[in-house]
């Protein structure tokens, strides 16, 4: 008997390595609107690889969606104003790095009108037209290309596109919060990506999140299980690929699919962002409905006061620290508050059994502790030479041997490091996390990768 429920068995990718941080401050699934910000900003400094050229000057009036900067490498790619008003300030850092373009919003907030598309339009239009619409709407850079994680090339059809839900990194927005009520929009966005990929789009969820499966009835076609970073597109690709042709796959964040859909459907640069606030510093870790480029102070309005917090944009592992008066980055959807921990350790802490000291190793009693623990940004030790403990290789989700690869990099052996799988690195930062010698393995690998990329593209 043939039934229409029958589907090919869904593939599950199981990751054996990796590691889950046990840190407190997981955001609840409740969401709350933040107060309406009066200033927004774009932070070009934190958009990887982009070489920004200013398109506005201080005092210029801008519409919602007017270009603020363009990428010198490809001037079609522009980053648009997240609000309407005037350019209040442009802040430069060392060597004239553009750090912050601040927009003072006005009351009317006029917006640039882009073309609107229905589902039928999408089905009918050519791939080039669709690319054009996304580039013009300023959201093309949300689509990223492996292995370098720069924004995707516009003239390239990828072997596959990954849309991965349920980030296992602490802490990112929960998909059911940002998808709630937006399921139709997501479907619309998915059809856009299917058109761009000319076929293979993987919609991936964690094996345990059955709720998401029912929300996105029938759309999920790949599940994964295992520790952080099993959710990462690079990890999934590494464990699925059968030939080098697949290395240049693309990936898009789940919330960004909704954003892309909104731009194409409404013809207006989308502003709404759902941002999670987590970490030990959040008084009530939860989700906030706010705007792209919103000031962090409106998101972190309710924080614990007793500490010097590091405002981490993105996850606790891979995110970057910003000042409390900074703004939400272009593609960021998470803010985590973690104590700086810039103080000396307790007396003879070295000999503490360490029931509350989180560690990948079994050298502390915390190995028996199932509770989530407090963490801070302390290095917990001095820098040493590699003692070949091999922990980095035990956690690397893509079977790189970081302790050897980084030595190859430091010795200038580019070929050897590539052979070691340098470009498979998914930038999860676990190698640096576990290193007892406090060697910046991840930073070394990432820089080598970026260096190689720049060399390749300059040719």
């Amino acid at each position: 008997m043939k039934s229409d429920i029958e589907k090919p068995p869904m593939k599950t990718i199981r990751i054996k390595k990796g590691y889950n941080l046990k840190v407190i401050g997981s955001p609840s699934t409740t969401s709350q609107k933040t107060e309406q910000p009066t200033r927004l900003a774009l932070l070009p400094e934190h958009i990887p690889f982009v070489k920004p050229r200013l398109k506005v000057a201080k005092g210029d009036s801008v519409l919602l969606g007017s270009p603020l900067i363009e990428d010198k490498r490809n001037t079609d790619i522009q980053f648009l104003s997240p609000g309407g008003g005037h350019v209040a300030d442009i802040r430069f850092g060392p060597r004239r790095v553009i750090q912050e373009i601040t927009i003072q919003l006005d009351n009317t907030e006029k917006a640039i009108e882009f073309e609107r598309f229905s589902q039928e339009d999408i089905d009918k239009m050519s791939r080039e037209q669709l690319v054009q619409a996304l580039v013009a709407g300023g959201l093309w850079p949300l689509i990223k290309e492996l292995p370098f994680r720069d924004y995707a090339r516009t003239d390239f059809v990828p072997p596959a596109v990954f849309i991965s839900f349920n980030s296992l990194e602490p802490f990112h927005p929960a998909p059911k919060v940002y998808l709630f009520g937006n399921e139709a929009l997501f479907r619309f966005g998915l059809s856009v990506l299917e058109k761009l990929a000319e076929g293979r789009v993987y919609v991936c969820r964690h094996l345990a999140d059955a709720e998401l499966a029912s929300m996105l009835d029938g759309l999920i076609n790949l599940t994964y299980a295992g520790n952080y970073p099993a959710h990462d597109a690079g990890v999934l690709l590494y464990h699925m690929k059968s030939s080098p042709d697949e290395n240049r796959s693309w990936f898009v964040d789940g919330q960004d699919v909704v954003l892309i859909a909104r731009l194409l459907r409404d013809g207006v640069y989308p502003t709404e962002r759902i941002v999670s606030l987590g970490g030990p510093g959040a008084r009530q870790p939860k989700h906030f409905i706010t705007r792209m480029g919103a000031p962090l102070s409106v998101i972190a309005a309710e924080r614990n006061e007793n500490e010097n917090w590091r405002y981490i944009q993105g996850g606790i592992m891979t995110g970057y620290g910003t000042l409390p008066h900074s703004y939400l980055g272009f593609s960021e959807t998470a803010l985590n508050l973690v104590p700086e921990g810039n103080r000396k350790g307790e007396l003879l802490g070295l000999f503490n059994p360490g029931y509350r000291k989180p560690s990948f190793s079994r050298a502390f009693f915390s190995a028996f502790n199932r509770e989530k623990l407090e963490m801070d940004c302390s290095m917990h030790g001095g820098e040493r030479a590699c003692i070949a403990c091999g922990y980095c290789a035990l956690v690397c989700p893509v079977d790189i041997l970081p302790q050897f690869t980084y030595k190859a990099i430091l010795a200038g052996e580019v070929e050897e490091s590539l052979e070691h799988g340098l470009l498979d690195c998914v930038e999860c930062t676990l190698c640096s996390y576990v290193c007892p010698s406090k060697i910046e393995l991840f930073e070394t690998l990432k820089n080598a990768k970026a260096e190689f990329y720049k060399e390749q593209t300059s040719r």
Binding site: I312, G341, G345, C377, G381, I387, C389, E419, P436
Partner: protein, 394 residues
């Protein structure tokens, strides 16, 4: 608590930049960081870091070695009293043991620390904790009668030639403690080989009392004439299996206590400090080779070939070296598969050296050093094999 903090604050300023003792900063830092972990925060991703550091890692090895010191002090005193015809009451025995062992430990640590401080100060980096483990290991492998100047020379050779000239901890390819031990063995054979060196004489005696034989199990096994029945040779000399296992016989200061080595190995494996592959590889190599020799032994070959391989495991310092020397992560093989081979090679060579080379009664130290040399090659082969399986990404 407050007083300790204040002490470091007032003394620390002399060692900081601009202070009188600025050059000795690494020495000061190494002491202070034992009491208070330094205040350093992450500058690049990941923002948070694991609580484990090298200091904790090495400290746990030293914790595992402390029982060996307790045992060693007792055993040195006990053997000394037996050989000198004195009573074997607990406290006098301990006192004799302390008098023999403590000076060696103090000298070894003083010289080891001095070298490490010198190199750290010249290279302007913090002191590495590896030296603490090296200095803890070396005395346990030495005979209790060793002249103190030789102990100083041994640790100096181990630290400087075995480690520092290659760049310090993490860049050495030989186990520094064993390098020092091997140096002493070859440079001063009179004080480092033979049966007489393993017992300290006390109470004014210049030669042991008649009832005492200082023969170690290894020398008995090597000298035995009884083909196929070495067990009886051991029994004649008073070596029961239990005595071999518990190590209460003349030997190096702490290396004879097989039972403590087993416990220490289990402790380090459970804590994830020592790699079980190396230790089990060693044991397999030792038993396998011992068994092989049993099988090939014919009438007329050395009786040592017929020794039950389990004896190789419980006599001498083989288990001590397997647990603490072979597992030194820096000088051992780094890849999981290579670690098995590395361990197996150590076990096999230990037996071969013991049985076939009458000049070296205890082969395990040399076996470890020899396999240290091969570790990079084993790693290279395994990495090559692993990389071949990767789908290229360039």
């Amino acid at each position: 608590m407050n007083r300790i903090e204040k002490f470091f604050e007032t003394t620390g300023k002399h060692f900081k930049k601009g202070g009188k003792l600025e050059k000795l900063w690494p020495f000061y830092e190494s002491i202070e960081s034992v009491f208070f972990a330094p205040a350093r925060v992450s500058r690049v991703a990941p923002n948070v870091r694991d609580c484990l550091d090298v200091k904790r890692y090495m400290m746990l090895v030293i914790v595992a070695l402390l029982p060996h010191y307790a045992f060693g002090i007792y055993n040195v005193g006990y053997q000394s009293h037996l050989a000198s015809g004195l009573g074997t009451d607990f406290w006098p025995v301990i006192w004799t043991g302390l008098k023999a062992v403590v000076p060696i430990v103090v000298v070894v640590y003083a010289f080891g620390f001095a070298w490490e401080t010198l190199f750290a100060a010249v290279r302007k980096h913090e002191m590495s904790e590896g030296v603490l483990v090296t200095c803890a290991l070396l005395p346990l492998t030495l005979p209790p009668t060793i002249p103190l100047w030789q102990a100083a020379l041994g640790i100096s050779f181990g630290i400087v030639i075995g480690k520092e000239i290659f760049g310090g901890t993490g860049r050495n390819f030989l186990n520094p403690a064993l390098t020092g031990r091997a140096f002493l063995y070859f440079a001063y054979p009179a004080q480092n080989s033979g049966d007489a060196i393993w017992t300290v004489l006390s109470g004014g005696n210049t030669s042991p009392v008649d009832a005492f034989t200082g023969a170690t199990p290894l020398s008995i096994a090597a000298a035995s004439e009884s083909f196929g029945n070495l067990q009886s040779a051991f029994a004649d000399a008073g070596y029961s299996n239990a005595k071999l296992f518990f190590g209460l016989y003349p030997g190096s200061i702490g290396g004879t206590a097989t039972f403590l080595s087993v416990a220490g190995a289990a402790f380090l494996i459970i804590l994830g400090i020592a790699n079980y592959r190396i230790i089990f590889g060693c044991i397999l190599g030792l038993l396998g080779t011992g068994l092989l020799l049993n099988l090939v032994a014919v009438e007329g070959s050395s009786p040592y070939l017929t020794l039950n391989p389990l004896y190789h495991l419980i006599m001498g310092g083989s288990m001590f070296a397997f647990a603490y020397m072979a597992t030194d992560p820096v000088s051992a093989a780094h890849m999981q598969g290579a670690r098995w081979v590395f361990g197996f090679g150590i076990g096999a060579l230990t037996v071969l050296i013991r049985v076939f080379n009458v000049a070296f009664l205890e082969g395990v130290g040399l076996a470890v050093l020899f396999m240290n040399l091969f570790a990079p090659l084993l790693d290279h082969l395994e990495i090559k094999m692993k990389l071949r399986k990767r789908i290229p990404n360039v």
